[in-house]
């Protein structure tokens, strides 16, 4: 049982957190033909855009209502109207997703009312879905923006099925949290299809941000789930929500369409996947394909091979709640001690993190904790690179953004196979660190190396020496 601590500092140093509006915009990027629009100053969009481009190495659609000091004073109606019309005329989107920002929330812009007015004034927009989500910068974090946007998509875009309409048990809605990569989504799609199920992912980043070379250059998203497909999600047999953050969206789906849901808080590791695969077998009425029986064996074997290196490690992890919970639990299952856990925003899963406390804080907090408590494995996003260099411990990059290494979109952690690859990658970092930085010398054991405080590395070193 972890205690959730909130910060006492006035100054956040080396932020772990990113803002809510770009989390919301990120969700809209998983819709086909979409143009996410931040209602704020142009910098709000520009910073977010740069961040996405650096992470995905892809062209990313993201627009701005370009609020200025004057328009902020007057209210943002005209800017929003112009932005929607300009996007409609130039980019010809299938949907525009609008997120508010700190500027327009401080101002108190009533965007819902604006949209109503804009629709009255411009009948040509009648068939263009406009989904608005309120995401002030000064509240919550990236993950919250994502889940709020998906919830709004369900509320606005999914049609309530007619009473007599039949459900198709083969169709399954999947609501992935923002901690899943396009690679994860593709993996899940393959798994579900192997059970004869037809999944609809909302949002589907695998279609839009998986790195592809299209024939045409379009200003909107290219792949992703179509608005028409979202509309009929109410006919599915089940909704699977991945990550605790998606519970609200799944509930909204059930409230609107009656589709029952199941939340999988974790999909990394042996037991969570056993549960997941058993569930798929149950709802599809099919036996588990032999492929997954073999993959389970591979994961079990990978755990055997890697536990020498991973077991006993003292982990410092900084991530958004669902990713933090998933990865730290998986590693804890393999004997890792979760010593320092820092996250961005409150969540129901935090108190179940396998550590004494979870701090809602920044990377300075994480670095200080890792240093003072002698952690020897660091997991966070790319902004942890400076801390990692100072701490001189193995650093596994996870989450968003990863801008200083390539292939972030294809990292997998879900499924037996994703967990297998993840623990191999972490174990290899540990091995590399040992080879490069911890070679024994004639003086290594001259002084007593018995742990004098409980915080010194004990267990992991002993384990390693046996196999070294």
């Amino acid at each position: 049982m972890a205690v959730v601590m909130t910060p006492k500092k006035a100054c956040a140093v080396n932020p772990l957190k990113m803002s809510q509006p770009i989390g919301g915009a990120f969700a809209f990027m998983g819709l086909r033909g979409a143009m996410p629009l931040l209602h704020g100053a142009q910098g709000c969009t520009s910073f977010g855009l740069t961040l996405f481009v650096r992470h995905f190495k892809e062209a990313v659609p993201l627009q701005t209502t370009a609020m200025t000091e004057v328009t902020t004073v007057l209210g943002g109606y005209e800017n929003l109207e112009q932005a929607i019309l300009n996007i409609f005329n130039r980019a010809k989107p299938k949907i525009i997703g609008i997120c508010s920002t700190g500027v327009t929330e401080t101002n108190g812009d009533d965007v819902d009312a604006y949209i109503k007015l804009i629709r009255e004034k411009h009948p040509q927009l009648a068939r263009l879905p406009l989904v608005y989500v309120s995401t002030p910068d000064f509240k919550d974090a990236f993950q919250d923006g994502w889940q709020k946007a998906v919830t709004r998509m369900v509320e606005v875009l999914v049609e309530a099925p007619a009473v007599e309409a039949l459900r198709d048990p083969a169709r399954v809605n999947v609501l992935p949290g923002c901690h899943l990569t396009p690679g994860d989504i593709d993996e899940l799609r393959a798994i579900l299809e192997d059970f004869g199920l037809q999944p609809s992912f909302l949002p589907d980043l695998a279609g839009s941000l998986d790195g592809h070379v299209p024939d045409e250059f379009t200003p909107t998203t290219i792949g992703g789930i179509g608005v028409d497909e979202v509309a009929v999600m109410g006919r599915a047999g089940w909704t699977i929500a991945i990550g605790s953050q998606m519970r609200r969206a799944a509930e909204a789906m059930q409230a609107k369409t009656g589709v029952p849901f199941r939340v999988f808080e974790r999909l990394c590791g042996l037991l969570p996947n056993d549960e997941f695969i058993a569930f798929l077998s149950e709802i599809s009425g099919r036996p588990v394909p032999s492929k997954y029986r073999r993959q389970r064996g591979q994961l079990a074997d990978a755990m055997l091979d890697t536990h020498f290196h991973i077991g006993g490690r003292r982990l410092a992890i900084g991530a958004e709640p669902d990713l933090l919970f998933d990865l730290s639990s998986m590693l804890n299952d393999m004997g890792v001690q979760v010593i320092a856990a820092v996250t961005t925003t409150d969540s129901a899963v935090l108190e179940r993190v396998a550590s004494e406390e979870v701090l809602i804080g920044d990377l300075e907090d994480l670095e200080e904790l890792a240093e003072s408590k002698g952690c020897d494995l660091l997991i966070t996003h790319s902004h942890g690179r400076q801390a990692a260099a100072r701490l001189k411990i193995p650093f596994y990059r996870a989450g968003f953004p990863i801008f200083d290494r390539l292939g972030a979109a294809h990292h997998k952690s879900v499924g037996y196979r994703g967990a297998r690859d993840l623990i191999f990658a972490i174990a290899n970092l540990v091995i590399e660190d040992r080879e490069q930085n911890r070679k024994p010398t004639p003086d290594t054991w001259r002084k007593s190396n018995l742990p004098s405080t409980p915080y010194q590395r004990g267990f992991s070193d002993r384990t390693e020496r046996h196999i070294a």
Binding site: K9, A10, C11, A12, V13, N14, P15, K17, M18, S19, P21, I22, L37, G40, A41, Q42, G43, C44, T45, S46, F47, G48, T50, L51, V53, R54, K57, E58, A59, Q63, T64, T65, A66, M67, T68, E69, T72, N79, L80, Q82, A83, L85, N86, R90, T101, G102, V103, T106, P136, D137, F138, K139, V213, P214, F217, T218, P219, H383, Q386, F403
Partner: protein, 548 residues
């Protein structure tokens, strides 16, 4: 102390800016940026610009007062390099929450300043204002003033909230903060007749260090670089320099001009991109320093160094020139550097099919015209879709631009080189020019492009199937007419050579390369090179075998 709107007005009245001076009075009042268009706008805000301009000061704590978006989404994302402190790369923000928005964020800001001084003891703190605290009326000037008094350490307000305008305006507002609070507040330990300031040079990828050895050799001291690898003390005492060079075109022209007015430091605008520009810049620095009292032999020593460095650079570039002959480049970048990069590319022997002049002044455009001849294609504003089409149609062999438009080129399977702030290579001075040429060569002649441009097997198969099936398809037209129409298709538009002529040449002479086709027909093989390659590839095997 003047209010922010007054400062902005003052900047828009910049007499040192040629573009501004050429505008009629009523337009000048609107400011130097085009009105931002909601839904079409791209680019950073004024806060972004201020941060770009000042963040390279390495021993300063840069504290962003605002909600998480402004710093959380953007920190540690620039490639400036430091020879000392890493403090500038640390992200500090007040991360304002809802309570701060309701009750004001000044208290939190004061506490944040104290925390930073207690923990890091920086040379100075720069406090950046952002939109939300500006809206709720947080007075950062007052907070900074109080903190400076309390801690005996410079705490400098940078009043450039994002919504006042563009990145460019923000850079100038950052300059105003330096002028008002920093420059001239300290004295250098010693002064020499060889002291210069570099203004608007950010040491991206460490490129300042590509020219610094040249200064060192000449005995010229960079008293202060604003702001690449800069230190607070250096900029605070920069008013004692003898001359200044404005490096990044006009982004900080207000600093250069006001330093001239206040401290009589003459300045010139120059660039270290390209061989000729580097030489001109060195000459100008030497001339200004001698004018201000440096010994006259500096000029001769400078000339000798230029001669040596130019010879070295030309020798290194020479082997590339024949390889670049006829290669066409498209240059999309901010006006600041377009003419200097144009000059650099011309020196390497590349042909320019277009360069963006969106942010350039009339003077810039004149320079580009001079450099490229009358036919230079100046692009005011090109939507990505058109850029993509231009590249896909092989109207350019390569694109050089900033990171945001890279995918336009890459997705068209066209070589691309990053020449903006996120780039990972340094391109300044003579060494940098050689590096740029090397990088262009590596990119242009990568064998990968050819593979990437080939159709996927299923597409190739589909095309072959279509060919097989098309005669059988119900057609009321005469096959002979169809064939004539097919053969009449223009392949080389410049010299009007049709498909039939090329096919016949390939068939009767057994040609296998574009070069050979060029010899046997009037085809130029420039923009039509790829089309000819396709024809060569699709020519039926037996013909080729028969020719062998």
């Amino acid at each position: 102390m003047s209010s922010l709107p007054a400062t902005v007005r003052d900047i828009f009245n910049e007499p040192g800016c040629a573009k501004n001076g050429s505008k009629p009075e009523n337009e000048r009042r609107k400011g130097c940026t085009k009105q931002l268009q909601p839904g079409i706008a791209a680019g950073g805000c004024a806060f972004d610009g201020a941060k770009i301009a000042l963040q390279p000061f390495t021993d300063v704590a840069h504290l962003v007062h605002g909600p998480i978006a402004c710093e959380g989404n953007s920190w540690d994302n620039r490639g400036a390099a430091s020879s000392g402190s890493d403090l500038w790369r640390t992200g500090f923000t007040t991360d304002m929450n809802e309570t701060d928005v309701v009750f004001g964020g000044e208290k939190r800001l004061s506490r944040a300043i104290k925390e930073i001084i207690d923990k890091r003891d920086p040379s100075a703190i720069f406090v950046y204002q952002t939109c939300v605290p500006a809206m709720i009326g947080d007075d950062i000037d007052a907070v900074c003033k109080a903190a400076t008094r309390k801690f005996g350490k410079p705490v400098i307000p940078v009043n450039s909230p994002g919504f006042v305008g563009s990145k460019n305006l923000g850079t100038k507002l950052a300059g105003e903060a330096l002028l008002e609070h920093v420059i001239g507040t300290q004295e250098p330990d010693n002064i020499t007749p060889y002291d210069i300031n570099l203004i608007g040079e950010y040491n991206l990828s460490g490129e300042l260090w590509q020219v610094k050895p040249l200064f060192d050799e000449l005995g010229i001291r960079i008293l202060s670089c604003i702001s690449g690898d800069g230190k607070y003390r250096e900029v605070a005492s920069s008013h004692r320099a003898r001359a200044a060079m404005m490096v990044c075109s006009r982004s900080m022209i207000n600093v250069a001009r006001k330093m001239k007015e206040r401290y009589e430091i003459p300045f010139f605008e120059g660039s270290f991109y390209g061989i000729q520009d580097s030489s001109d810049a060195l000459r100008e620095i030497a001339r200004l320093l001698v004018e201000r009292g440096a010994p006259g032999h500096l000029i001769e020593r400078t000339e000798a160094l230029i001669a040596r460095e130019e010879a070295r650079a030309w020798a290194a570039i020479e082997p590339y020139k024949p390889r670049f002959k006829g290669k066409k480049a498209l240059l999309i970048t901010g006006g600041v550097k377009s003419w200097s990069v144009v000059a650099a590319l011309r020196e390497a022997g590349l042909e320019l099919v277009g360069t963006s002049v969106k942010k350039s002044t009339e003077e810039d455009k004149e320079r580009i015209k001079e450099l490229t001849g009358q036919d230079a294609h100046m692009i005011e504003d090109m939507p990505p879709r058109e850029m993509y089409k231009m590249l896909k149609d092989a109207k350019a062999d390569m694109m050089l631009s900033g990171g945001k438009s890279q995918f336009v080129a890459l997705k068209a399977a066209t070589p691309w080189l990053d020449i903006n702030q996120e780039r990972s290579h340094a391109y300044m001075g003579y060494a940098g020019m050689v590096k740029l040429v090397e990088e262009i060569d590596r990119s242009l002649f990568n064998p990968m492009w050819e593979q990437l441009r080939r159709p996927a097997p299923w597409n190739a198969l589909a095309r072959a199937m279509a060919q097989v099936h098309s005669p059988a398809a119900p057609s009321i037209s005469d096959p002979a007419i169809d064939e004539r129409a097919r053969r009449a298709k223009k392949i080389c538009a410049c010299n009007t050579v049709d498909l039939g002529t090329i096919e016949d040449a390939i068939c009767s002479h057994g040609l296998t390369s574009v070069e050979a086709v060029k010899q046997h027909t009037k085809a130029i093989g420039g923009c039509c090179k790829r089309r000819i390659e396709d024809i060569l590839q699709s020519s039926p095997r037996p013909v080729l075998q028969a020719a062998e």
